[in-house]
């Protein structure tokens, strides 16, 4: 017994220790996680965001270094009152604010850096960096922000901002503090512009200090720079468009019909993209965000839905001819109004009669288009079939649905279907007929379109029957392709031959008709004015406002180089504002200079601000004068 007791004890102890090690190392995996958490830190290396150029190679958006003053609270010596007030003056903050920031930093972590004041400019940095040595524990960290070379196209560029929790949860690529494109091209081409951040795994010691790379960096990745992109935008045209829209609300969108490239995309009111960079960013953004009256962040071209008014007659004409319910030479009589069986007649204005199709367009005769619209619908045995067939043709122009351009915001507009009217009129309890939808013929009633949809159908007319989807991307640098949906041609359901009489009519609008006031020497424009009734609600009552001024056009007549749609909210008749602006834009693009300076002065000096105040004045007001 005396010989073996100790021997047994040794064996027994050996078993206990083996069991303990087996538990710690094999059964219990929690240590592996704790180990990874406290010993290895990931540090990200941010790549340069891609630049943005315009179609002529002009640099629009680049990057600028921005400087944040950081602090590691542990290393801070308490400042003497003199030094402190001097430092606060440098940082442009009050001493109370300084104390608050420092307290917050300590609570966050005494050992890790916190931001004291962010986004100093290059000049401020130069000044600051000379004095930083006086303040122990503080240092300046460089970051990369956007630098805008132009003061326009903010709605096209969009902006970048720090990711929020929702994005982080959805996409594991992003981490707190990362920047992401939140609107416009920055959002649409986020993955191309941002590149890919690199990651370094650092071995940490127990004081959370870096002591080298983890496993000689086998898990590390190198950042991949973002790619530069070239937009289809013509920067000079964009700038000019924004200038023309000063003191007006509305939108201008211009395409190159032969490619679908967006030449200008102007929404007014707008803002200078530069104000969303730097220390004033959040103040400025809040101001834009809460301006619910002029809504500068609302893109009127992409998100604004308007009754198209008379320009829609071109489509009524095309569908009528395609369906064989009217010949281009057939003359119809207008008696100054159209009686469709409703409570009152649909009015028309004074013009010669009878008219053929081109003359109908040139004079914008309501009666003419109501008649052929009715024939188009009534060609079928039921109005449901008629409406759906009409809608089928319109859909081929990209109307009534998202067109598929490469910018984030969008609206479908509305091309009503038979289901829409069945619900509206509670079919089959009540029946409805073509005449109930007659306003569609002239682009009023239920039809609504975005300016982008208007310019798209105009481009399709300019091309005599086909279009490319509008797009803003011209080239992704170092990748020569753009998404294939922008290089596919989309055909409309209308045969080529039917476009000539419509184009002839649009040319007459400019030559002899409602838009002859905008004639520009040496430029053959085909256009169509529109004057759209619109309503708002004041104290729950539906109130009519001054009509929207609308104009769609393309030029030149043969081999069109530009298609354009302009809408000026509450601008009254079509050629008053929209026509003139479209004319100026076309001349600017085609000729590079303005000969109609009288017209230019009228637009530049004109303001609709008084008009926009009316609904908010609280007093009764007159419209359309």
């Amino acid at each position: 017994m005396r010989k073996y007791l100790f021997f047994l004890l040794v064996v027994f102890t050996g078993l206990i220790i083996s069991a303990r090690l087996f538990y710690l190392q094999v059964l219990d995996t929690s240590s592996q996680i704790s180990s990874q958490n406290n010993a290895v830190k990931k540090v990200f290396d941010y790549p340069q965001r891609g630049f943005i150029f315009d179609r002529n190679g002009e640099l629009l958006v680049s990057n600028q270094p921005s400087y944040d003053v950081m602090v590691i609270p542990k290393n801070v010596d308490s400042l003497t009152p003199d030094l402190k007030s001097e430092f606060c003056e440098l940082l442009k903050i009050t001493e109370e604010k300084y104390d608050k920031i420092l307290k917050k930093a300590i609570i966050y972590s005494p050992r890790l850096p916190s931001v004291v004041v962010s986004q100093f400019t290059k000049d401020e940095y130069a000044f600051l960096s000379e004095k930083m040595w006086k303040y122990k524990g503080f240092y300046i960290q460089k970051r990369s922000l956007r630098e805008y070379q132009v003061s326009n196209a903010a709605n096209v560029f969009g902006y970048i901002a720090e990711v929020n929790k929702t994005i982080i949860d959805k996409n594991p690529y992003y981490q707190m503090g990362d920047l992401i494109g939140k609107a416009g091209v920055e959002m649409e081409y986020e993955e191309i512009l941002r590149g890919k951040k690199g990651v370094k795994h650092l071995q940490m010691d127990r004081f959370n200090r870096e002591i080298g790379s983890y496993q000689e960096g086998v898990f590390d990745t190198v950042p991949i720079n973002g790619k530069d992109i070239t937009l289809t935008i013509d920067s000079r045209l964009q700038e000019y468009g924004e200038k023309l829209l000063i003191n007006k609300r509305g939108g201008i969108v211009a395409l190159e019909p032969s490619t679908g490239e967006i030449l200008a995309l102007v929404s007014a009111p707008n803002y200078d993209p530069k104000i969303l960079v730097g220390r004033e960013r959040s103040k400025n953004f809040t101001k834009l965000w809460y301006d619910t009256i002029s809504r500068p962040l609302f893109d009127r071209v992409l998100q604004g839905e308007y009754p198209p008014g008379s320009p829609f007659k071109t489509l009524t004409a095309l569908i009528g001819m395609q369906e064989g319910v009217v010949q281009k030479n057939e003359k119809l009589i207008c008696q100054g109004s159209y009686n469709y069986g409703g409570k009152k007649k649909l009015g028309c204005h004074l013009h010669k009669t009878p008219l053929n199709l081109s003359e109908g367009l040139a004079n914008s005769c309501n009666t003419y288009f109501c008649k052929i619209y009715k024939r188009t619908i009534e060609k079928f045995s039921s109005p449901q079939e008629g409406i759906d067939n009409w809608r089928y043709h319109l859909a081929s122009f990209g109307l009534g649905n998202y067109i598929g351009y490469d910018l984030p915001p969008g609206k479908k507009g509305l091309i009503p279907s038979s289901d829409f009217y069945n619900r509206w009129y509670q079919y089959p309890k009540y029946k409805w007929y073509a005449s109930a939808t007659i306003s569609n013929a002239i682009g009023q009633g239920e039809v609504i379109l975005t300016p982008m949809q208007m310019v798209n159908f105009t481009a399709a007319i300019a091309n005599r029957g086909w279009y490319y989807k509008p797009h803003i991307i011209k080239k992704i640098n170092s990748v020569d392709t753009i998404p294939s949906k922008y290089t596919n041609r989309y055909n409309t359901t209308i045969e080529k031959q039917y476009f000539e009489p419509v184009i002839e009519g649009m040319f007459e609008v400019y030559n002899e008709g409602t838009a002859k006031n905008i004639q520009i020497p040496g430029v053959e424009i085909c256009g169509k004015t529109g004057t759209a009734e619109n309503y708002t609600k004041i104290d729950g009552k539906r109130v009519q406002l001054t009509d929207h001024s609308i104009f769609v056009a393309f030029a030149p007549k043969e081999n069109p180089k530009i298609a354009i749609a302009v809408i000026i909210e509450n601008g009254y008749w079509g050629s008053r504002w929209a026509g003139r602006i479209a004319g100026l834009m076309i001349e600017k693009y085609l000729k590079g200079e303005i000969t109609r300076t009288d017209m230019e002065n009228f637009v530049l000096n004109g303001s609709l601000l008084e008009e926009y105040k009316k609904p908010y004045s609280g007093k009764p007001f007159k419209i359309n004068y």
Binding site: V10, V11, R20, L21, Q25, A39, Y214
Partner: protein, 415 residues
């Protein structure tokens, strides 16, 4: 002749010794490695110093084996006295490091006499007990043996270095082997068990359990031993109460914390529990096969304090995994068992007692150290033999072991 006798040395033991020292150095290299200084011959580096200590150990071994084995028996009393004086001298000339005056500083080096005093005590004990006139069944001789053991221990406690002193308890085992009544060991176990159980469950529960067990014993045996069991019961309960009293009033808060953490009564990963917690994380993160030499993230991050000395085993755990840890554990177990077997075959009682002492001391160090590092035992700072960084420790254990190898060899020749 040294060479001729060479074949008589116990090569398995020497082989295990070489394995342990080598493995120890490899892990010290990893634990103290820093990428800033790659110079191998930088004498400021811990691993370079340890390599020097190892070389010096080789020299020591040659000396120890060269000396006639009778010398150790004959001069054991002198060696013991020298050791006692060196411990006493600490109170006058010692250097205070980390709160304990356990070192002599000579030039740039420090020497810790308590590491060598173990050898001296084992020799003195073996010499005393092997005397033909000594009878361990008599109280007088028992007392003298215990004085030999506990005199240096008391000096060490006063330094204060209670961890190193605790190891002297190991020398009870050779006494038991030589005839000390089993009661002492049982007493020791009961005291230890009552102590831990009281802290874990409280005096009331322990009293109830003690009464229950003794009640059963009384019921099963004859009535005449009732008084004896009664006294035992009162003693146990009294001890349990006094443990509570000592724990709350005599021990310092840091000692209380150490016990409470191991007993799971107190969760603490930051201050006092930091060492144990980080050590467990390091060992646990090794998994089956470990992260590989120099690849331990916890080791590189220096998360485990004292990792090259008392906590060296956490590096083994992290970088070599369960397989590597078990390798080290098995080496120690094999060494201890090998020493026991060798002791039993010794002709002279002196050699046997000494061998038993060596095995007991190594066992205590091994169990307490690995128990502490893996979170089984409270924090008791003693090194892992042959493994931990430190010249005094390495030399102390080397001398301890090789004196026995020398004794064993001469024993063989006599045969």
């Amino acid at each position: 002749m040294l060479i001729a006798k060479g074949s008589k040395y116990d090569w398995p033991t020497i082989f295990i010794y070489i394995m342990l020292v080598t493995a120890g150095w490899v892990n010290i290299y990893s634990a103290s490695f820093n990428e800033a200084s790659l110079s191998f011959f930088d004498v400021k580096q811990v691993y370079t110093k340890q390599l020097m200590f190892i070389c010096l150990s080789a020299l020591l071994i040659v000396f120890i084996l060269a000396i006639e084995s009778k010398f150790y028996e004959r001069f054991s009393s002198v060696i013991y006295l020298v050791a006692l004086f060196s411990l006493l001298g600490l109170f006058f000339f010692g250097k205070n490091i980390n709160g304990a005056t356990s070192w002599y500083a000579i030039g740039g080096f420090t020497i810790q006499p308590s590491e060598f005093a173990k050898v001296a005590t084992a020799l003195a004990l073996a010499k005393y007990v092997s005397d033909i006139q000594i009878d361990l069944t008599t109280y007088q001789d028992q007392l003298k043996s215990l004085i030999i053991i506990f005199l240096p221990a008391i000096f060490i406690i006063l330094q204060p270095d209670p961890g190193s002193a605790l190891v002297y308890l190991a020398l009870i085992f050779p006494l038991y082997r030589e005839g000390l009544h089993g009661m002492y060991l049982s007493f020791g176990f009961i005291v230890a068990a009552l102590f831990v159980a009281t802290l874990a469950f409280g005096t009331i529960w322990i009293s109830l359990i003690v009464l229950l067990i003794i009640g059963i014993l009384v019921f099963k045996t004859k009535k005449k031993s009732i008084v004896k069991y009664g006294v035992l019961a009162v003693a146990c309960i009294g001890f349990s109460i006094s443990v509570n009293f000592i724990f709350e009033n005599v021990l310092e808060q840091r000692h209380r914390d150490r016990f409470n953490i191991v007993l799971g009564k107190q969760v603490d990963t930051k201050s006092i529990g930091y060492n144990t917690n980080q050590s467990e994380i390091a060992i646990g993160s090794g998994g089956w096969t470990g992260k590989g030499w120099l690849q331990g993230t916890q080791t590189k991050g220096k998360f485990v304090p004292e990792q090259d000395t008392d906590y060296i085993f956490s590096t083994v755990g992290e970088e070599w995994g369960f397989i590597g840890s078990m390798g080290v554990v098995l080496l120690f177990l094999t060494l201890i068992i090998r020493l026991l077997i060798l002791s039993e075959r010794q002709k002279s009682q002196f050699s046997r007692i000494y061998g038993y002492s060596v095995a007991s001391i190594l066992f205590f160090h091994f169990f307490i150290n690995i128990g502490m590092v893996s979170g089984l035992l409270p924090t008791i700072g003693i090194p892992l033999p042959f493994f931990s960084y430190g010249g005094s420790g390495l030399w102390g254990f080397t001398i301890l072991l090789f004196i026995f190898i020398r004794l064993d060899a001469s024993n063989y020749i006599n045969h």
